[in-house]
Symmetry: C2
Subunit: 227 residues, 2 copies
Amino acid sequence: MKIYNFAFGPYPQRVNIYLAEKSPPNVERVIFDAPDKQAGVPPASIKALTPTGAMPILRDEDGAIIGQSLAILEYLESKVSGPDMLGATPAAKARTREFVQVFDEALTFFGLWARHGSDLGRDTVRISLDVAAICAARYFDQLRLIEKMMSQSDFITGDRVTIADCVAMATLQYAADFYDVPVPDDCQRLARWCAEFRQRPSAASPRYPEDKRAIALGLMAQTGVGF
Amino acid sequence: MKIYNFAFGPYPQRVNIYLAEKSPPNVERVIFDAPDKQAGVPPASIKALTPTGAMPILRDEDGAIIGQSLAILEYLESKVSGPDMLGATPAAKARTREFVQVFDEALTFFGLWARHGSDLGRDTVRISLDVAAICAARYFDQLRLIEKMMSQSDFITGDRVTIADCVAMATLQYAADFYDVPVPDDCQRLARWCAEFRQRPSAASPRYPEDKRAIALGLMAQTGVGF
């Protein structure tokens, strides 16, 4: 099967980190740089595969096409070989999915904050310090909830890597590297996990478009948000 | 196993609708009315089961406790008997999960709009017409995406009920019944599905607290939002 994806961004990066951890032998990766309409990146034929045209997109030989990152991760878990990254029992799977969903909602809050708060959106969307303040608070609240849900283990859900680690790292890495938004001081377990998981080859920083990153960096100061 | 839940609300109602469709023989339901701190509803001992204390909460005999609605639905699919409501193949499961995730994000947008826009939140949260306008637009965009993803089938993902129908109905029913926010006119498939699924016993309207509903109704007019 084939995965069409971007080289960076929080939703694409979940899948990039997952594939780096899982190393499935039968998944071909087609990675695009940052979107560029004029240059035809990604190509219209790829974007036409799904209603949103958003990466990641998975296309299987049997015709199945999946255009949503969490559905792709679950599909890969059921179809490709490599370490189990969901959990061995229904209860372990449930714990992984709990974390995944809380991080996914955190990212929705972060996305609203970044999109409608950062100078990056100034020409394309409505800028709102209200949205920034309210969604930043909700984002940090989600991280504090994660902090409470975590045990003292090495990884997010326990003693091995799961898709929860992939979703968590993609989110926190994007917030930190592209917008300079760190894990709050009162989330010590999460911060320690983040620092340690960062050392893994799967979590190597992707190459961001530096012109955009220069505008994005400092989101907290730009929007007057503190912890 | 036991499920502790509220009688209404978009996240609890996903599970209520699911249980009504699935009819598992071995799941005991403990249903609470609207939360009431003074009256001790839900009881502190139940809320203490999870870090958020939010319903739904599933507690299995073997000690597993799950506090997130989508993780609960996946867990039930793997543990209880009844009609398959996820999909028979990895591709069918992926299609169900795609819809579930898009609806789940839609509900996050709707929740921000309702919470920070409605008069209901006036004494407890920051009211913001910016948040209302931006998140209402994102909510309707998600429904328009769903409309594009749907085929002409009887149910959200195809020819049978899945957890996508439960998540969809819980969201649209809450928006319509509690806040008077309908499906947009340009989402005809979704509107038709909604009208038909409403006829099922599983989708019977729950009893809402009428004092709160009286304040919530008319969210679009309250926040100056149109389609």
